[in-house]
């Protein structure tokens, strides 16, 4: 992890009419950091993330993502980040290789770059035998690994992962986290939401949103000390209880 900040949010706010979905959130994320962005359903995580990835306009405050302003440079943000949601953006009717080629084109890579990336990716993921199978026929765990790799295709500074591991078996979930550790080790910043509290423990730092505000932000270790509990699950229950 480096000292340099790649996300700087100051009082970032989103109001829908009279309802404040994201209420002046302030935080920084460092280069190469694995940052866990937690909160109960409806706490405002998705809305906050949409502003950070440049697809929703803030109604107040400011934020810089990968060096670009969320108010005025949304296109530049999109080119410098990767995004993977729980509902993968992979095309089921395209093969593994075709999906990689397609996304390479979207991200504006040259044909030569795409060819190199495709070869390397298929090799590292061990997908050689199934490179020409339709993605729709792959097990969920493979789709997740492929979706993550595709989100990293253009070497983004930051990857946003929105509940990336829902539903997979515990071994595949851990293999996925090993990919995350590796990416972070190579200085890619990881911004991740999850409902698995053991995964919160894998993060360098964690923020917890309650009703639009960031109510806690620290390393998992310090949060557990602060709330005098033994797991992140208990930290979460302490903070988010009685919020619907």
């Amino acid at each position: 992890m480096k000292e340099e900040n790649v996300i700087i949010s100051k009082g970032l706010t989103k109001r829908f009419g009279g309802f404040t979905a994201v209420d002046a959130i302030t935080f920084e994320v460092k280069k190469g950091e694995i940052f866990g962005f937690l909160g109960a359903n409806g706490a405002g995580k998705t809305t906050a993330m949409k502003m950070l990835i440049g697809i929703s306009n803030p109604t107040g405050g400011e934020a810089m993502v990968a060096g670009f302003d969320v108010h005025t440079q949304q296109d530049a943000i999109k080119k410098n980040i990767g995004y993977m949601s729980q509902k993968f953006a992979l095309y089921d009717d395209l093969t593994v290789a075709e999906n990689i080629t397609f996304y390479g084109g979207i991200y504006g890579l040259s044909r030569k770059q795409i060819r190199e990336k495709r070869t390397k990716l298929i090799e590292t993921l061990g997908l050689g035998e199934i490179a020409h199978q339709l993605v729709g026929s792959l097990p969920l765990g493979w789709k997740q690994k492929l979706a993550f790799s595709v989100a990293m295709l253009h070497d983004p500074q930051i990857v946003f992962l929105d509940e990336p591991t829902g539903g997979v078996d515990p071994i595949t979930r851990r293999q996925f986290w090993e990919m995350i550790y590796k990416a972070a080790d190579e200085d890619t910043t990881i911004f991740v939401t999850t409902h698995y509290m053991d995964e919160a423990e894998y993060c360098h730092r964690v923020s917890i949103m309650v009703a639009g505000k960031i109510e806690a932000l620290d390393t998992p270790k310090k949060l557990k000390e602060q709330f005098e509990v033994s797991s992140m699950n208990d930290v979460f229950l302490r903070l988010a209880r009685n919020i619907e």
């Binding site: 909160g39 109960a40 359903n41 409806g42 729980q86 097990p139 969920l140 509940e163 829902g166 539903g167 997979v168 078996d169 515990p170 071994i171 595949t172 851990r174 986290w177 090993e178 550790y181 590796k182 972070a184 080790d185 409902h195 698995y196 509290m197 053991d198 423990e201 894998y202 998992p220 270790k221 797991s231 992140m232 699950n233 979460f236 229950l237 988010a240 209880r241 919020i243 619907e244």
Partner: protein, 301 residues
């Protein structure tokens, strides 16, 4: 009046979804089917709720055969499918009324049974189901599955995608329902929820790996599990995987769970190995396994 499953198999074209599964749920039991997506949980639920016919084997629910007595089963069970069955354009109250009417009853008649769950969403009873949060939809779907006072309740991944607070509340409600003589079969991909069931079946790729109480299942793990910590997680994982005596290496919260191939394991030897790999703040300590450790060990085979 529980559930009896004997040698059930079901394939879709050439994919075998459920392979020769047998288990028994006792009356009044809270029984968990624990496994990832694609394990065959939903297929099994659909067979037991008479929505799908098995290729082989037989099953009884509340004393009725799933093929011959399917109509009786449909009156005696409640089913909350993984994707909510609610009508998005109807309000909370309209949804509940609809399900009550289908089963020839009314909200008032069985209010006692759903009170505990329904009270939490009743203040919003005029809101459309499509406008509810995940946790509220889940409570409404449970109310709808309960409104005809079923003997057996089937809950297919009721807590998937739901935050830890709502998950905890949901399980507290299940425990209270169990007190009212309802047999409950619930599936979940969350291993921590397994500990809350009376008995569990671990299931993967259409096969049952193990059946027992959560306490007994963790005792069956033949290996000792060690918590290993170092300041650099990725470095630690890589180094442990390269260690020649490593049996399994899995990240587990802030630690790595490690098992060794050998009978006699010397933690000092491993500590020195890790420190020679330039890892800092290394600590190794014996820890208690949980259900996830057991699941991973069984599914490796």
């Amino acid at each position: 009046m529980g559930i009896l499953v004997e040698n059930i198999s079901k394939s879709y074209k050439n994919v075998a979804a459920v392979k020769d599964i047998s288990f028994e749920v006792k009356p009044g039991e809270l029984y968990g089917l624990i496994g990832p997506d694609g394990a065959g949980k939903t297929t099994l639920f659909r067979i037991l709720t008479t929505l799908l016919v098995a290729d082989k084997g037989q099953a009884k629910v509340a004393g009725y055969d799933v093929v011959q007595d399917y109509k009786n089963i449909r009156h005696s069970v409640g089913y909350m499918p993984g994707r909510f069955s609610l009508y998005q354009d109807l309000t909370i109250e309209e949804n509940l009324n609809f399900f009550a009417t289908i089963f020839g009853t009314s909200i008032e008649e069985n209010y006692d049974l759903i009170k505990d769950v329904y009270e939490q969403i009743e203040p919003f009873k005029n809101r459309r189901a499509g406008k509810l949060s995940g946790g509220m939809k889940q409570k409404l779907a449970l109310s709808c599955a309960l409104i005809h006072k079923p003997k057996v309740l089937f809950l297919d991944e009721p807590t998937t995608g739901v935050d830890p607070v709502s998950r905890k509340e949901f399980w507290e409600m299940l425990k209270r329902l169990q007190q009212k003589d309802i047999t409950i079969l619930v599936s979940t991909p969350y291993m921590d929820e397994a500990a809350l069931c009376d008995r569990i079946a671990l299931i993967q790729e259409g096969k049952i790996l193990e059946i027992d109480s959560p306490e007994a299942i963790v005792k069956k793990l033949p290996k000792k599990i060690y918590d290993i910590y170092a300041s650099n997680m990725y470095g630690l994982l890589t180094a442990l995987k390269d260690f020649e005596h490593a049996h399994s290496v899995f990240p587990f919260g802030e630690f790595v769970h490690y098992t060794d191939k050998r009978e006699g394991f010397d933690s000092n030897e491993l500590k020195i190995y890790l420190e020679n790999k330039n890892l800092q703040d290394v600590s190794i300590s014996l820890t208690e396994p949980d259900i996830e450790d057991v699941f991973m060990e069984l599914s490796r085979k």
